[in-house]
Subunit: 339 residues, 4 copies
């Protein structure tokens, strides 16, 4: 369903050509002839029509799509919230789920120490990066499978499920062996081969929003995963790139309410990346809970000044524990809870 707006000077034969094209595709045409413009509506269920093709026809000013380009991800398609269990939590339900841990797994002792500290502070799920996307080829690229093994050991000791990033299709089977949730990083939100692979895997997915992705594009990327029959998808707002320089990213807090309205999928907030500085993480985390997030993912490191990545935005376990208390109070104030 689409509307075609013709140019004011469009000629009769141009209008006829557009109509013929639309009817060819199996649609009924609905014509509105104003004094200044003619508007052509497509009605019914024809074959998909490419918007750009129509826009290239003579006399056409522009096309306005009436329907959203995503379907399985939309609330129109599935009005009720999607929920699914991860460990002892029901993601997308009344309880807010807390994911916490270091940016990178740096050593066996580091991840195990952090896991225990996060668990004690109230976290439900352990985060940690084994394969790290780094802007520079000279930066620490992660411990790889060794890191995954240490995370699995931390899970054994604490009972916390683990979420970790997978960066390429070929590694999806390996990461699935260890991880409870596959994270797609912001840089890979439109890495379609990877979306295909995690879709096929049937593993729960945490899909981060691209640094400058429209919410519509984000939901389209979710659609890629959903279209493989993998329905356990969480969306993660982690800040977008803007002109502002005092923070690493701009936390698009609006996205939480918008996504809840447009989609049935759970929405997770990442205040660590959304601010990029530990001093602002607590305020952003509280805001995320107040705005209606279904979960949070927060970077915690026992000694941030020694972290091999993202030390600047990591909380110490003590500060994280205090933040959990703050978030619990807000969760209650908005009719949710954190256990």
């Amino acid at each position: 369903m689409m509307i075609v707006i013709m140019k004011s000077q469009a000629e009769m034969r141009e209008i006829s050509a557009v109509i013929a094209r639309i009817e060819d595709a199996g649609y009924k045409v609905h014509l509105s002839e104003g004094d200044e413009r003619t508007i052509i509506g497509l009605i019914g269920n024809g074959r998909p029509v490419d918007r750009e093709q129509i826009e290239r026809m003579a006399g056409v000013e522009r096309c306005v799509p009436v329907l959203k380009p995503f379907k399985l991800a939309s609330r129109d398609f599935k009005p009720r919230d999607t929920t699914f269990p991860i460990g002892n939590n029901l993601v997308g339900g009344k309880e807010i789920v807390l994911m916490a841990g270091p940016c990178s797994v740096e050593s066996r002792s580091q991840i195990i120490e952090t896991a225990h500290a996060c668990k004690e502070a109230g976290a439900h799920i352990l985060r940690g990066g084994a394969f790290k996307p780094r802007s520079s080829p000279y930066s620490f690229q992660g411990m790889g499978e060794e890191g995954l093994k240490y995370m699995a050991e931390a899970r054994e000791q604490t009972g916390m499920p683990i979420v970790t990033e997978v960066m390429e299709p070929a590694l999806v089977p390996l990461v699935c062996e260890y991880a409870d949730i596959l994270q797609i990083g912001a840089r890979n939100m439109q890495n379609y081969a990877l979306l295909h692979a995690v879709g096929e895997s049937q593993h729960p997915v945490l899909l981060k929003r691209g640094m400058s992705s429209l919410m519509e594009e984000w939901l389209m990327s979710a659609e890629y995963i959903l279209s493989h029959g993998n329905t356990r998808v969480m969306l993660c707002e982690r800040g977008i790139r803007t002109f502002e320089k005092y923070t690493r990213n701009t936390f698009d807090i609006n996205a939480i309410a918008v996504i809840k309205q447009m989609s049935h999928l759970p929405i997770i907030a990442d205040p660590s990346h959304a601010t990029g500085k530990w001093e602002y993480v607590a305020a952003a985390a509280r805001a995320g809970v107040a705005a209606g997030a279904d979960g949070l993912i927060i970077e915690v490191h026992p000694r941030p000044e020694e972290a091999m990545s993202d030390g600047g935005q990591s909380l110490k376990p003590k500060r994280f524990a205090r933040l959990v208390t703050e978030m619990k109070a807000i969760a209650e104030a908005v009719g949710r809870n954190i256990n």
Copy 2:
């Protein structure tokens, strides 16, 4: 205080010229000669040196300012929070102040009806536009002084102080006659003649952030007002312009914590403009409280579908009343309160 980074190929005479210029301005020079670069530091209290002048000198790669460009607005200058009374509220204190009302004053009955409804719902200050900045010369431009008179009448009836926008220096005296707080709109954040005039007025000011202003520029604009001895300045985050299209603006929730850290001035959140759609206003308002805002300004209209401006983002009084209840619960959760 500034650091000058020389180019890797900078010649001795170029370095000497920079040193001479800095010493001329009354600074001591501190030289660091690395293998790859020479770095020149300015120390002491010389005459102001223009960064761009130095950057234009031969052999200079760039200058790094060490100090922030604003002073009176900074927390370094005044570590304790600025507070001042408006009506029965102490802005900047423990209590969160609520400003509410229509985008535009449209008629006597409209503003009086709305004022009573807002008051009952829990608002402290009445907002309303008499002079309206509109993108189109063909749109309703506000009722002017007549609108101010109706607002004054609404204040009489409800006891609520009033905040309204002033758009040009020549009108500052007139608006001061009626208003308790002068609002500088986003489009005028860098209208220096206007900042000068409201600075001189000694009236309390609500300074909205420009649509695409850096926080640093926003604080510089506050500095313009403060430098006239007018210390009653509130900053108002109202969303910034980004690439995202589902919302009118992107609410920069990070700004609340950043401004609280960098400045002593009260910070107010405007969830109506920051989202641009009434459906998202409540979530944004709750987030603002959770993040630490000292106040909120929210558009309320008894019949938004008839509003002459911003109907799309206005709450009905009933929804606003429910939101006040929600905000009260969150305020308590973060150790603040709304009376």
Copy 3:
């Protein structure tokens, strides 16, 4: 003329209410009932209908305006290019006009020296700021009327008309006494009181695009001036604010072709502000000519390392002279010329 897209679940009575509202405003209604949505078109010439009002009605998803919101500025309204003489040049015609000079007038000798140098290099119009908008209240704010007098003297000596910024309505008469063209700076593009005043003045205007203004908003601001009967308006693309940090602004070179298509007004490029670094000015200036600009405004200073503002982006007269030669060659290549 507008299209209203109803929600998929819109009820019959909601659709009827929208229709009633539209008919009330004097429009004919055109109804398209698809399987998934109902779409309502407004046809004919009714009273202006506020888009946001309709969008707030129950059951409405969104409204799509069919016509552009500006009229006098549009090519639909006036298909042929606007041209008008300034000095010996016909702005908007086949010849490309060159404006050059310092950012600020700093002294009598500086502006006169620069004027002669620019004239010799091939400039047609002298630029120079007497009233300067500066982010910091502590920066040099310009020489004021004294600066205007020196510019007038420079005009006398060189025969070049002068363009200079006016920042507040109250100063329009004063600046009109001296200047041949009134410049509206980027920060004031939506300063409506100022647009009104320069519209009334009937003086030629150079309207800079706001730092983050949509082209549509820019043309709406031109509309403010045009609606006062002042038709001598030039638009000036001076770069927009983006996330990129290596340059001060991002030169929106696309805007030149888009504006030429949408509007009949002359379009001027400002490569100095659009890049912010003198090293990149020549490339941007050449690009501006190649893209179809009707003129360029370029900052030139005899000793940029002593400039009181914008030294970093100013060309020395010699480099400017070489650039003029480069631009002449490109002008010819695109069928224009620079005399």
Copy 4:
């Protein structure tokens, strides 16, 4: 080499801790004690120090890196322009290379017809997509290997080398069998596994800038490829995402001059994606040549209104031929040429 700026209230023991950390890493320390701040410089060649680690230390306000984070891609490392032959052209030399062809290969006849038309019009290299990154899983995803075969046939007939996108590491060997140049699309600019694979392949690479990537990040991605010993890398500016809506992207014309200054790698302009509308492609292409691009890549389709992707931004062969003539004239005007 880095500069550490301490907070104004930094204590002696905090300063000492930072110094100790820096000396530990093998650097000499250079201390500047101002009245307001202490500044610590790192000199010499120590082990890499993580900026964020230092910024997390007590008393530190921020760190300023002195050197650029990329090396092999920088002009400091390799002052002379990189050039290499592709077919009969020397990319990066005095001649400007023209790549043209359809967005997608749609059929054998379509690509062969287009190839001949492009060749006749003056193109040197044939572009065409066989594997297509599409926002929607429901859109045409390209013909895959079949498309590559048709491209190879078109090369046979016309003698033009071919450039085509590769989207996942596993397909690099296959695409290398057919393509002369591997294109990395904007969405994959930070797909590090893919950068690694094309680096290893030793095939020439066309690296598109990410939709919202800083130039610095773009050069870091080039560094990933260069660090595998693959030096035949071309950078491609294809527009960035901004707030502006009239064009699909904003062509960052400044990037051409900035990249030429910072890097020795050839820079290619893509006016088709940078504008998104065929009406603006010619102006953008001319601007690209005038600004100093080493090549252009332009979408051409014999019947854009039937194109399966990007029809809206494709030129018809006739218009492309005219554009080649226009570009030749500008190339000459800037001392380059197009053969």
